[in-house]
């Protein structure tokens, strides 16, 4: 399927499909998504609001809110299927072998408990440490994520920390059982730019040191460029392009990725206008047939309107676009 790599995959998504029944019919938020994450690899999942990237992350750890449900496909973690596990078993994996970091550090911390209590509780749940050792480990973790004077700060409450410091605590919380995979959903979006850079650097350093793989979900190509090894670009619930970072950023193939990269203002040169993709992402109840991007695509041709493209290999990248199909250009292109 998508993204071959030389290491065995830690996580493998096969044709994942997530549906939300609604009054107006069934909405497909994630539609036939397949990718892999290798041991110790950082996979960036990028896309705009409504692309389905957060739902994909939530589906992996079984946190889809009912009535939403996984309607098809499989999630394999360390070679073992986890999407059909009973709640209790999945809960053991979550937190121990898969850690999570969410966008807003305030909502992932309980305001009524000191951060030490939350850390120690998590450590005790997932490891065999004694309470005294757990506290020592919690202090070590806080030091590791760069909290100054951790031995004192451990007894403070979330509101006594700044946004950046809180996100550091959340990272400590995600890493405290030494997970193999961390799912980080917009970990820096709520932070100021200078703090953002600190948190990205920290996440990168810790995961490298611990050999933890990361699924980094973000709308910010800049964050991806700083962190990821490989990138998956999502659009309207589908993966449109997967490839090594350098390929996707410097030689984007899918017209959506090309447009996305062009629309980011940079400091290189002053273009009078930014490249723009006209229109907006379709709502889930109005996803066009064929390639979901075709109404906005400057290079769409007849085939795009009724036939949905699969991910097609093009060098090191995989692209879901008929332009890259072996016989594509025989049609009426452009």
């Amino acid at each position: 399927m998508a993204g071959p790599s030389n290491r065995p995959p830690l996580l493998r998504l096969e044709h994942l499909r997530v549906e939300f029944p609604s009054r107006h019919g069934t909405l497909t938020a994630v539609d036939d998504v397949s990718f892999e994450i290798a041991e110790g690899e950082v996979l960036g999942v990028v896309g705009e609001s409504g692309a389905g990237k957060s739902i994909t992350g939530a589906a992996i750890i079984g946190l889809i809110e009912p009535p939403g449900r996984i309607a098809g496909g499989r999630v394999l973690f360390e070679g073992e299927r986890i999407d059909d596990l009973p709640y209790e078993k999945l809960r053991r994996i979550r937190g121990k072998r898969i850690g999570t970091i969410f966008q807003d550090p305030l909502t992932s911390l309980n305001p009524l408990y000191s951060i030490g209590r939350q850390l120690i509780e998590t450590i005790l749940t997932h490891t065999a440490l004694a309470p005294r050792e757990a506290r020592r480990r919690a202090i070590d973790l806080l030091a590791e994520v760069g909290i100054p004077s951790p031995a004192q700060r451990i007894d403070h409450y979330p509101h006594q920390f700044s946004g950046g410091m809180r996100q550091r605590v959340v990272i400590a919380l995600a890493l405290c059982a030494n997970p193999r995979l961390v799912i980080a959903d917009e970990p820096t979006t709520a932070l100021d730019v200078s703090i953002q850079a600190q948190i990205i650097a920290l996440l990168k350093k810790l995961c490298r040191e611990h050999g933890t793989a990361v699924m980094l979900i973000t709308h910010d190509m800049g964050v991806i460029a700083e962190t990821a090894d490989r990138v998956a670009v999502m659009y309207a619930g589908r993966v449109v392009e997967v490839g090594p970072l350098r390929e996707v950023v410097k030689h984007p193939r899918h017209p959506y990725t090309v447009g996305l990269m062009g629309s980011i203002p940079t400091l290189r040169g002053t273009r009078a206008r930014l490249a723009q993709i006209d229109g907006s992402m379709p709502r889930l109840n109005r996803i066009p047939p064929g390639c979901a991007f075709h109404p906005r695509c400057p290079r769409a041709f007849a085939r795009c309107q009724h036939e949905r493209p699969e991910l097609i290999s093009d060098g090191p990248s995989w692209t879901a676009c008929w332009l890259y199909a072996p016989l594509a250009r025989t049609g009426s292109d452009g």
């Binding site: 730019v193 650097a201 290189r268 907006s280």
Partner: protein, 358 residues
Amino acid sequence: MAEPAGSVPSSAAAPQPLLRVAELARYFDASPPFLNRLLLGGHRRALKAVDGVSFAIPRGQTLSLVGESGCGKSTVARLIVGLYRPTRGSIEFDGQDVSLLRKEREVRALRRRFQIIFQDPFASLNPRWRVRDIIAEPIRVHGLLRGRAAIRARTEELLAQVGLSAADGGKYPHEFSGGQRQRISIARALASAPEFLVCDEPTSALDVSVQAQILNLMKDLQARLGLTYLFISHNLAVVHHMSDQVGVMYLGRLCELAEAKTLFRRPLHPYTRLLLETIPDLELSGRVRVPVAGEVPSPIDPPPGCSFHPRCPFANERCRRERPELSLHEGDLVACHAVEEGRLPAATFDLRAPAASG
């Protein structure tokens, strides 16, 4: 440094700027409640959200204010459009001191000429009004047109100007996406035919591809209608794309005010350098980034001397004691002792360097 000799920042050069702000300040009362002060012995405290900011924007140009949360950039925006009263300082619009206007009629006449666009297009449009009525409100309030047909024609023209169709006028805000709502906000701002727009983080809530649409629209409108912008943003790349002049704010004060071209090529103030350092490297040039330490201190209790000194790698004894004022340096205004004393290593940011195929 290829700089034209004797170039002065346009703040000083322009003969008659459209907007001039001098020593603008706004303090908020951050004291504990009266009874607590009485019983627990606390005393009054002021939060200096904006503390002595001066700049001028020539007609038809864009000045951007950039900085992190709490630096006071949005407070400046609100002061200028009159949502807050300044604690001190003056705002001069087209030669008229706004604070001297007393008569309601005069204030209103001036108000028509400047408008604001807010960050959140979900909160700034009345959900119970049709788009047509939202856009027509400034026309009605200022009595610019009489008669239904005339107002209807004008709103349709405004909708077309921002890339929406006449039929969209009959819909409600919830029927639109974030980018389209921001277009509606822009149409409403343009309804009173203003000369000056304050744009407070107009694209921060939008996705990048939509952001590009809105930034392009704003540039087109500026070219077509000769608008002057005060652009507030925390995103330096966006600021670089939009501005003629850039003011960098830190804890309520300007630390650098320069032409956009020079600021991005040769940042002077250490904080400006820090901000430039944080821009992600989309070129994948492998530029080694200096890790940025520390966080913005609380504006209630700013550090003495230069408020940036706790995070500044170049701070010395003087910086801890004495607050630097803005002074002219290589044609730019910068408030930094290290720059003034020439003990700052030159930093040329060659951010444009790597060619497309690196």
